[in-house]
């Protein structure tokens, strides 16, 4: 393996390392989640959150715009909160958040598991967890 100089630009040394790509993914997915959460908060304000919800309830909707999160509020009609637009927003947020979160667990696990075999097992478990959490989450969003 050739030594990669710190002084080379990304274009010359390539961005091929999986860990480097995931490092970038963690940052970019954070920005994507901010965009989706702000979209949800603006939508909540347009749909009348100011009069019928308190601050914490609006934040809870922003973190995951699923209709079950506004069931216990004073909203007179929650049908506009269960449209395909919100289900798609919630699905996008779920998929990005699961990828970001499970990769975060792998980073933490790597601090304690240092053998190649152990790290391989962690990565297989993380793949299973990502797929099952996305599956369960999508089922809950689209059936609630």
């Amino acid at each position: 393996m050739t030594t990669k100089s710190r002084n080379l630009s990304i274009a010359k040394r390539g961005l091929m390392s999986f860990e480097t790509i995931m490092w970038l993914f963690t940052r970019l997915s954070a920005l994507a989640m901010y965009t989706l959460v702000i979209f949800g908060l603006v939508g909540a304000l347009i749909m009348g959150a100011v009069n019928n919800m308190n601050f914490a309830e609006v934040m809870r909707w922003g973190f995951m715009p699923n209709v079950t999160h506004v069931q216990n509020t004073n909203l007179p009609d929650i049908d506009p909160w269960a449209t395909p637009l919100w289900k798609l927003t919630a699905s996008a947020l779920l998929i990005i958040a699961v990828g970001h979160g499970v990769h975060g667990l792998v980073v933490i696990a790597d601090d304690y598991i240092a053998t190649a075999k152990g790290r391989q097992i962690v990565r297989i478990c993380s793949g299973v967890m990502i797929l099952s959490m996305i599956g369960i989450g999508l089922y809950l969003i689209w059936t609630s």
């Binding site: 601050f55 914490a56 216990n72 979160g101 667990l105 240092a114 369960i136 809950l140």
Partner: protein, 124 residues
């Protein structure tokens, strides 16, 4: 390879990393808290029944709301700081000022959240 660090847990807890270390460890606690409790919340909602209702009832209590809001808001606000400083590395010289701004933003948003959680818990 191997984990022969020769640092006991007691020494690790006395590590004087100050502000930046505090944000690091709170970021990790918040991330772990979210990963564990959102996984349980998803499984409880999916399985339903009496067990699921019991778990989700705990999640709706004001004590748990205060805890999970801490995890989410600290992780989100600290994560935004990390993202901005990492994607624009020239700003790294201001990272202590960035941590100060972060705490102000966190205390304002978290303060409002805790206030409204407690007020609705008291029935107001």
């Amino acid at each position: 390879m191997g984990l022969n660090r020769n640092v006991s847990l007691k020494t690790a807890l006395r590590y004087k990393g100050q502000g930046p270390y505090l944000t690091y460890i709170l970021h990790r606690i918040g991330g772990l808290g979210m990963a564990i409790f959102i996984t349980i919340h998803l499984l409880a909602s999916f399985l339903g029944g009496r067990g699921g209702a019991f778990v989700n009832h705990i999640y709706e209590s004001w004590i748990f709301q205060i805890f999970i809001f801490f995890c989410i808001l600290f992780h989100a606000i600290n994560g935004l700081r990390i993202t901005i400083l990492d994607l624009w590395p020239k700003l790294i010289i201001y990272h202590r000022q960035a941590i100060t701004i972060e705490w102000v933003a966190f205390i304002v948003i978290y303060g409002f959240s805790v206030f409204s959680i407690i007020r609705s818990a008291l029935g107001g």
